[in-house]
């Protein structure tokens, strides 16, 4: 189970890292002739009934009567080509234009259909994953480092510092976190560039959730401080900093990793939720949340199922982290 989960998560993160290469189109590229085009069908059998060894697709003709209805144009087949040259993107600082697959002009391949502006959902899903998954990682790192700092100081030094910090923790734990997220976002400017919005969002999500890891880490530090070898090291004249770094913080690793596996999916969902509601990362940068935003209109939700893809892809992410968290919890916290 754990192995499958780790492989799955690595594949997902790998896919979003290589988004530029794997995605056939630029995420912001609009194709006004193809709004809400359904996922392109890959064909192996042509109109005459002969079998092909390599998939090909047909072009789409918009229906003259109805909006967003299409028919396949069987007169011309476009074979799927590998490693084609297309839009520019940057990978590890290099500017590239080689894509995993593509279709000769004037054909289009939309593996997961298009949205209302005719933007390729598959490309946007990959690029949007960068925002959503990265937001989860960075926010969790922020929360955990804050929690680590507060928890270790609080647990190690005890006394007045501990009391004050723990009251603050209780205050933060008592706040309804979704409300808090909303409220903090409410007091930030609404119209900002997507990059600034992304970092603000990450900072907000990350700072809201530091309290629980802080409390758990404090507990571990508190018990580790009293271990005999720590007392011995102190007797030999080890400094506070040395003791924390060398003997105490390594003990918190189990809690740290388990909390990470719990927090990351929560924070991914937080980003998706906020962006879905229009409070997070805005257009034209895709994120899984703002891609789902248009589904607040019932007719889009009912008619174009492929628009649901960014929500569906959350399921494997959640599953992977859930398995990982269970495993870490058993192995690292209780399995000594």
């Amino acid at each position: 189970m754990v192995r499958i989960a780790v492989v799955l998560l690595s594949l997902l993160y790998g896919a979003i890292l290589g988004a530029g290469f794997l995605a056939p189109y630029d995420p912001a590229e609009q194709d006004r002739a193809h709004p809400f085009a359904p996922p392109t069908r890959l064909h192996f059998v042509d109109a005459e009934g002969s079998l092909h060894g390599w998939p090909f697709i047909y072009g789409l003709i918009p229906s003259p009567d109805n909006f967003a209805e299409y028919q396949e144009d069987r007169s011309r087949a476009f074979p799927v080509r590998l490693f084609v040259s297309g839009d520019h993107y940057s990978l590890l600082g290099f500017s590239c234009r080689r894509h995993w697959f593509g279709i000769d002009e004037p054909g289009h391949i939309f593996l997961l259909g298009t949205d209302g502006y005719g933007r390729d959902q598959f490309s946007r899903l990959l690029w949007g994953g960068r925002i959503s998954l990265l937001a989860g990682l960075i926010a969790a790192a922020l929360s955990l480092s804050l929690g680590m700092a507060v928890g270790s100081v609080s647990g190690y030094f005890g006394g007045f510092v501990d009391d004050t910090l723990m009251r603050l923790v209780e205050l933060f734990l008592a706040m309804p976190w979704l409300y808090l997220l909303f409220a903090v976002r409410a007091f930030l400017p609404l119209h900002i560039s997507p990059t600034v919005a992304f970092f603000l969002l990450v900072v907000v999500i990350g700072t809201v959730g530091w309290a629980r890891p802080a409390r758990l880490i404090r507990g571990v530090v508190l018990s580790a401080r009293e271990r005999k070898y720590v007392l011995a090291a102190r007797g030999f004249g080890a400094s506070d900093f040395y003791l924390l770094r060398r003997h105490i913080l390594p003990q918190t690793m189990g809690v740290f990793l388990t909390q990470a596996a719990l927090l990351i999916p929560q924070y991914i969902l937080a980003e998706v939720t906020l962006s879905f509601l229009g409070l997070g990362v805005g257009e034209p940068v895709p994120s899984w949340g703002n891609m789902l935003g248009s589904l607040q209109q019932y007719h889009i939700l009912a008619s174009y199922w492929w628009m649901l893809a960014p929500a569906l892809v959350l399921v494997p992410v959640f599953w992977g982290y859930q398995v990982l968290a269970d495993f870490l919890h058993e192995r690292l916290e209780f399995g000594h």
């Binding site: 609404l190 929500a311 959350l314």
Partner: protein
């Protein structure tokens, strides 16, 4: 008694702390409700200055806080800029709808998860347990946003449930029975989304605490004495698991106002969620603060109820050094 008083005092302090923090966030925020008016050439600077003075926005932060606290004492909770109404009135009309939804869903989730949890714990690792555990794990991996959207699609496709809102457009002309029926039809969908969302969490909790209780030596000896299974389950094991169930009960009170925010927005249920979102977009500060405060109040109250119940049910807490 001293223990309970201390918990009460602690809860009150948390509420004060949250309100101070909210005001600090307000101060950090650039822009306010009247900022957009400045762009409107038809509104003179005098009018805006007058409005700001009327709502006290031209005063220093501590003064505003004191004025707000006084307004809380009067039961107004400040005024909404957008509606010109006392925040308490505005929030209460919405909170009612939210509570109708969340209380029913919490009750339903309890009614299903307790028997199911006991059943699964009793048949641990047999296939009845495996199936329920697998089902709850599967539900747990579905984010509530997807759950709500999927249910909505189902409703729109099948036309079996009324999708969106709380009432039909012709609600005012219906009779009493028809009115109740109408609300119930709109109610089903958000209710299902909430119940399916909380059920796996409750179920796992009940199952884990029952498994722990069933492993106690006292239960083993009761078994050895030949006491019937149902009596062991409900008379011996359930009370032993009570503490963690009470904590969970407190948690479900605590989240009454925050659990349904997203579902309400997605299904346009006229509760606190959509109102809060609107207030955030309009920077209607006191409405946002009011909603945060009310929700914090429920959290504190939920924890307090759990503390009181634990105090009453567990002599160890009553006698021990609390």
């Amino acid at each position: 008694m001293a223990y309970l008083l201390r918990r009460l005092l602690h809860g009150a302090l948390v509420l004060v702390g949250v309100s101070v923090l909210s005001f600090l966030f307000v101060q950090l925020a650039p822009g306010e409700f009247f900022s957009d008016m400045r762009l409107n050439p038809q509104v003179s600077p005098e009018t805006i200055r007058h409005l700001r003075a009327q709502y006290g926005l031209d005063r220093a932060l501590p003064i505003r806080y004191v004025r707000w606290a006084r307004s809380v004492a009067k039961g107004d909770w400040g005024y909404s800029f957008a509606y010109g109404l006392p925040v308490s009135k505005l929030i209460w009309s919405r909170a009612r709808n939210t509570l109708l939804l969340t209380i029913t869903s919490a009750l339903l989730a309890w009614l299903i998860s307790i028997p199911l949890g006991i059943y699964a714990a009793e048949r641990r690792d047999r296939w009845g347990d495996r199936v329920t555990v697998a089902g709850s794990s599967a539900l747990l991996t579905v984010p509530d946003l997807l759950l709500a959207l999927a249910l909505l699609i189902l409703a729109i496709r099948t036309n079996a449930f009324a999708a969106g809102g709380m009432t039909s457009p012709d609600f005012a002309e219906l009779g009493t029975v028809a009115k109740i029926k109408d609300v119930a039809a709109h109610f089903t969908l958000p209710l299902a989304a909430l119940v399916l969302g909380t059920l796996p969490i409750f179920f796992r909790h009940v199952r884990a605490s029952m498994i722990e209780a069933l492993a106690l030596p006292s239960i083993q000896s009761a078994r050895a004495h030949g006491i019937p299974r149902s009596r062991i389950l409900f008379r011996y094991a359930l009370p032993a698991a009570a503490n963690s169930l009470i904590s969970l009960f407190g948690f479900s009170i605590a989240t009454l106002l925050s659990a349904s925010l997203l579902v309400e927005v997605v299904m346009s249920w006229p509760g606190l969620g959509p109102m809060l979102l609107e207030a955030i977009l309009a920077r209607d500060l006191y409405v946002v603060i009011g909603a945060v405060m009310l929700s914090t109040f429920f959290l504190v109250a939920g924890n307090l109820v759990a503390d009181v119940l634990l105090y009453l049910s567990d002599p160890r807490i009553r006698r021990g050094p609390a």
